[in-house]
Amino acid sequence: MNERPLPDVDDPDFEPYFRGCAGGELRIPHCAVCGWWQWPPRSICPRCQSNAWTWDKAPQTATLYSWTTIWRPGLPGFVSEVPFAVVVVELDAIPNVRMLSSSVDCRPEDLSIGLRMETVFRQCADNVSLPYWRPVQSKAH
């Protein structure tokens, strides 16, 4: 029980998302009726009450909305990582979509709200790849 908890990538409510992650893409439920992007996934569109979702590719750049630097984790597998930052980002173009993750390639003290960030996918197990976020590295992005 000292391993990090992994998501259930076969959960039908999330399978398209994790399949997208495995392919290096953020795929988010997008309402085919009213165009609303929804996160986290819900079975019914909160705007038009339809259930016609397509899992479409979302922007993989974002702005840092908030973060916490964790020193006392409540889960096994993270104790050796402290301190680490859990971040919440707002995706470019669809800022109503906020995603929670961890930052990589930077220290917690390098973070500030409004920081420009981009997705990095990391393989966590044989069949599990998860998105992380790092500061946008150069003006090439």
Binding site: P7, P40, T68, T69, I70, W71, R72, G74, M99, I113
Partner: protein, 388 residues
């Protein structure tokens, strides 16, 4: 009758009781429940067999266990509150509903837990958190699992939008400790802190440090609610539940996707409870704010309307919430400095303040008290209590 007035003055608190608060009670949760209820019944001047309604706190000691132990064989109303830390205040509402319907005559709302020597917060939250699928799929894989962690995200955002500082949070922590020095029952009695101590406190989930977090403690607490005629015939000064309401935020099971992180369930609950009571925030003499963490005090002061949105930090730094200030908050020390009794200790303190029983920490002329409850990711409950 308008909906807003439907529970006004229906229920009266006739008795309050608690066990000792400790780090290691050496007793079962059931024994703590029974001892708190015995104390509350004694305070109300009723025998245990006159209790005919029981409301317990979600996933704590079942009503059946308590009724059997107390020898209550004519239980006519049993309820369970379900709003996390807002459950103690929600329990008052359930009791009022039972009294209004005539289902019961003496309803006890209770909670008890070995929250220090038994299960700790990290064990409990994993088992009962709302939106468990979202937590397991989207948050636990990144190491986020505890209230201190997800609420620290909200605190950080408030700091960014409104200029709230760690010093502001520190004023809440120090004020609660100051108050606890006037309360011999408080776990931190004899252990005051300064702002310097606060700033040096070890980090937990920044911006939260250890002294931003409530205590983990063992104990039990209970209140008896009855009708006005019984209350006025009782042995203590009657206290009316003159307003009570619950409220939920948008996307109740998910904070991250909530459009407005600061729009909690406390806001609609406060508006409804104040309307029911025919009162406004300015009328409140003393407030019990659910202080699971320091920032949640600042946040709820804004949500109830004790100060403007975004101004909670300067409000607490002004000394307003200290005894002697314009709105004394948690004279008992709250969850941060008395004990974590799931907010039932807040209800008890409100009643004792309105009865003028609080000695060195008594708020002079206290006639109207507000009590808030805060659960999970922003469930809210608010009660307004009035001295007869």
């Amino acid at each position: 009758m308008s909906p807003a007035a439907s529970l006004r003055d229906v229920a009266w608190i006739t008795g309050v009781g608690q066990t000792d608060y400790s780090r290691r009670s050496g007793r079962s949760d059931l024994t703590l429940s029974v001892q708190a209820i015995e104390a509350a019944a004694t305070d109300a001047g009723i025998s245990l067999r006159e209790i005919d309604g029981l409301v317990t706190y979600q996933r704590l000691v079942p009503v059946e266990d308590v009724a059997s132990t107390l020898g209550i064989d004519n239980l006519r109303f049993a309820g369970t509150s379900h709003l996390g830390g807002a459950s103690s205040v929600e329990g008052l509402m359930l009791a009022a509903l039972a009294l209004q319907a005539g289902l019961a005559r003496n309803v006890v709302v209770y909670c008890a837990r070995n929250g220090s020597s038994g299960s700790r917060i990290s064990d409990r939250v994993l088992g009962r958190v709302p939106g468990r699928q979202l937590r397991e799929q989207l948050e636990w894989p990144y190491g986020l699992s505890l209230p201190a962690q997800w609420l620290s995200l909200v605190c950080r955002r408030h700091m960014h939008e409104f200029g709230t500082t760690r010093e502001h949070l520190g004023h809440v922590a120090v004020t609660m400790r100051d108050h606890a020095q006037l309360n011999p029952a408080a776990l931190t009695s004899g252990w005051p802190i300064t702002l310097v101590d606060y700033m040096a406190s070890e980090p937990i989930a920044e911006p939260y440090h250890k002294l931003d977090c409530c205590l983990e403690s063992d104990g039990g607490a209970a209140v008896v609610l009855s009708t006005v005629d019984r209350a006025r015939a009782g042995i203590k000064s009657p206290v009316a539940l003159t307003g009570v309401a619950v409220g939920q935020p948008q996307s109740q099971d998910d904070l991250i996707g909530r459009r407005d992180w600061f729009a909690s369930g406390v806001r609609p609950a406060a508006a409804a409870a104040m309307a029911m009571a025919g009162a406004s925030a300015a009328d409140i003499d003393v407030a019990m704010i659910y202080d699971c963490f320091t920032f949640e005090v600042i946040h709820q002061l804004e949500e109830v309307g004790f100060c403007q949105p975004g101004e909670g930090g300067p409000f607490v730094a002004s000394g307003a919430i200290h005894l002697g200030g314009s709105l004394p908050v948690n004279p008992h020390g709250g969850l941060l400095a008395e004990a974590h009794m799931m907010g039932m200790n807040h209800v008890i303190e409100a009643v004792r303040q309105l009865r003028r029983e609080c000695g060195a920490r008594q708020v002079p002329h206290a006639r109207l008290a507000a009590v808030t409850g805060w659960g999970g990711m922003g469930d809210g409950a608010v009660a307004v209590l009035r001295a007869d």
